[in-house]
């Protein structure tokens, strides 16, 4: 049994917007073990990015605000650390790669400098050592002639190369936990395949744990050990990867899998669409947030918002209905 690396409990994050208080993350709990890959899946606005940014304390405040919760990294609460302590954790223990490789690099600094920065900040390397290591890292992620390209600026790199460089930067301090926030979404399929291949390879080589955030159930299937599905700021289902795809238990997960066309499937099955759209929560819901789009709903769903409850070993879903029978779970 490997050790618990990150344990998040009851995380809540809100945003103050012009239209009112938006409840973006509403009591999210999950954990990551050493060397394990956790996939967090959900559509835009479901709170998946906000969740990890809250843990790393990267939520701009105002307008954002982490209201409550714990994020224990090796037993220490990230949310209660001093600014200096969390800064030392970021980039060296928990490092993150973001969605858009085009905007995530500083346009007026060389790639080499930006990759070397965490090394200088966390490992007290000299500039020269850090640059030498940066070249090694860029080489590792498959950038040809890495040492000659240290002086290049981001605009001289293609999207795929920038994302490789991003990964190099994130891995520079050998972090035990690597967080990827849709790093391949902005890329073409063939480039995405390169990046996925690279991350899998590096993960196995360094034995790091990974949190992979995406809206793409296909990517998660090939990558994750466990999957958490988010909807309207809640985790609504959580299971081992095979279990989730074989026996999805929450109506939303079922609907999501049914709405995906599959490349390995012939015949024109009609896609099951989930009608309506996700809600924006200005109030913490007193009913199931999926209620209006749900085809399984029973009376209880409109009275009480279900929390995660066990469906099977290591498989939990936040639904009052047993979707295999259509009957109430309780």
């Amino acid at each position: 049994m490997s050790e618990l690396l990150l344990n998040v409990k009851d995380l809540r994050t809100r945003f103050h917007t012009r239209d009112g208080l938006v409840h973006a993350v509403n009591g999210v709990s999950f954990f990551v073990k050493e060397g394990e890959t956790l996939g967090i899946v959900g559509e835009s606005g479901c709170g998946k990015s906000v969740t990890v940014m809250s843990i790393l304390r990267l939520i701009p405040s105002p307008p954002g605000e982490v209201v409550s919760g714990e994020a224990l990294y090796l037993g220490r609460d990230l949310l209660k650390m001093s600014n200096d302590e969390i800064r030392h954790i970021r980039g060296s223990q928990l490092s993150m790669v973001f969605q858009d490789p085009m905007t995530s690099f500083n346009p007026v600094m060389t790639i080499g400098h930006q990759v070397a920065e965490p090394l200088m900040a966390h490992q007290e390397m000299t500039r020269k050592q850090a640059y030498a290591r940066a070249a090694e890292l860029l080489n590792l992620v498959g950038i040809p002639n890495a040492s000659e390209r240290l002086g290049d600026y981001p605009h001289q790199f293609s999207g795929g190369m920038r994302q490789r460089a991003m990964i190099a930067m994130a891995l520079s301090c050998n972090p035990p936990l690597f967080i990827a926030d849709e790093p391949s979404t902005a890329l073409d399929v063939t480039i995405q395949a390169q990046i996925l291949d690279l991350v899998k390879h590096l993960r196995d080589e360094f034995g790091m744990a990974v949190i992979w955030i995406t809206h793409d159930l296909g990517i998660i299937a090939g990558l994750a050990d466990r999957v958490a599905v988010m909807y309207a700021g809640f985790i609504i289902e959580e299971a081992a990867v095979d279990d989730l795809y074989d026996h999805p238990s929450h109506p939303y997960t079922i609907g999501l899998l049914g709405s995906l066309p599959r490349m390995d499937e012939s015949g024109q099955r009609r896609l099951t669409s989930i009608e309506g759209m996700p809600p924006v929560l200005y109030q913490p819901p007193t009913e199931c947030p999926f209620l209006s789009r749900c085809t399984y709903k029973i009376d209880r769903c409109s009275k009480e918002n279900p929390s995660l409850m066990p469906v099977d070993d290591d498989h939990r879903a936040a639904c009052w209905v047993d979707t295999t029978t259509g009957k109430s779970r309780a």
């Binding site: 030392h88 954790i89 980039g91 973001f98 995530s104 007026v108 900040a121 966390h122 600026y153 991003m166």
Partner: protein, 339 residues
């Protein structure tokens, strides 16, 4: 990247602009009903056809307009802007006399504006909504709303006339001789001449006009720094920098400020236009012998060669400032170098 080629190309592009500028000036000053002879000649002589005819020929007023323009352009190429109707000096000579005072005043006011405006802008961006932020906003709005010809008079009234803390108009105490001209800046020249009393007098004379003139630039600087910093701080790469675990200081100064400077530099280039407008007022109030005051003298005396000369000089200065801005741009922003 080829910065040199870029500069050369920009310089070449200035030639058609310069021709356009002279043409516009020429049209403006020649398409009007006012007869320049009424200014050149004493009133009595205007009735004497002989004198009028001689003057017409002397000033080239008998030739067709396009010829007058070509002559004017040809003269310009030889550094000849004509002779001022009023001072009877060559305009180029006059401008040489008046320019250094303006340069000294402008630089002083610019330093004042940047020293205060930049930090003010940065702090109000970092602490948006704070007291500093509101203070900056008020400063910025006042800077754009106070007429410099009025605030100049008010500060003179208070600090010179009432409190007697600072000297009145002029570049230097009237009882002192100006330091021998080397650079044209009284501050530097008096230091070179080891004339400390003259130096102090020059410094104290510079304070009020520099503040009044710099106020507008300060306002723009603070406001643009603020908005540009706010924008940059929202960028993905700032988030990346924070996620790397860099200190806030490094994030703000090295990652954010350098990007925020890019729009700021353009605005500062444009602020020069505001500076020239301000200089016209400020120099008038503070009896500052610069080109702003020369421009007012020329304009109020209908001194056409002088008007054309000083306007041309300001336009050319303006163009060079913009060229400098452009070059600084290419140095700061690597993306532009490729183009």
């Amino acid at each position: 990247m080829n910065l040199f080629a870029h500069i050369v190309r920009r310089l070449l592009l200035m030639i058609p602009m310069l021709i356009g500028i002279t043409l516009l000036l020429f049209i403006v000053t020649h398409m009007v009903p006012t007869n320049p002879l009424t200014v050149i000649l004493p009133e009595k002589s205007l009735n004497d056809p002989e004198i009028v005819k001689a003057a017409t020929i002397k000033w080239g007023l008998d030739k067709p307009l396009y010829q007058q323009y070509l002559i004017y352009l040809g003269n310009l190429l030889h550094g000849d802007m004509g002779v001022s109707f009023k001072t009877k000096n060559p305009v180029t000579f006059d401008l040489e006399q008046f320019l250094p005072a303006t340069v000294e005043l402008s630089i002083a006011s610019f330093i004042f504006a940047l020293l205060i405006g930049l930090p003010l802008g940065i702090i109000s961006a970092l602490k948006s909504g704070s007291i500093v932020d509101h203070f900056t906003r008020v400063i910025a709005l006042l800077g754009a709303s106070i007429p410099p010809f009025w605030s100049g008079l008010i500060v003179l009234f208070i600090f010179w006339f009432k409190l007697r803390w600072l000297p009145g108009p002029g570049r230097i105490d009237a009882r002192m001789a100006a330091p021998p001209t080397v650079t044209g800046s009284f501050l530097i020249d008096s230091l070179l001449a080891h004339n400390m009393p003259a130096f102090w007098s020059s410094v104290t004379h510079l304070i009020l006009p520099a503040i009044i003139l710099g106020w507008f630039t300060l306002a723009i600087t603070a406001r643009i720094t603020r908005s540009s910093m706010l924008e940059v701080l929202q960028m993905d790469y700032i988030r990346t920098a924070r996620a790397k675990g860099l200190t806030e200081w490094v994030v703000v100064i090295f990652h954010a400020l350098r990007n925020a400077l890019i729009p700021l530099i353009t605005i500062i280039g444009l602020a020069f236009a505001g500076l020239m407008s301000g200089a016209i007022m400020t120099e008038t109030i503070f009896s500052w012998p610069g080109i702003g005051r020369y421009a007012v003298m020329a304009a109020t005396n209908l001194d056409f060669p002088a008007i054309m000369g000083v306007t041309l000089l300001i336009a050319v200065l303006f163009m060079f400032i913009n060229l400098t801005v452009d070059i600084i741009y290419t140095i700061i922003d690597p993306r532009i170098r490729e183009m």
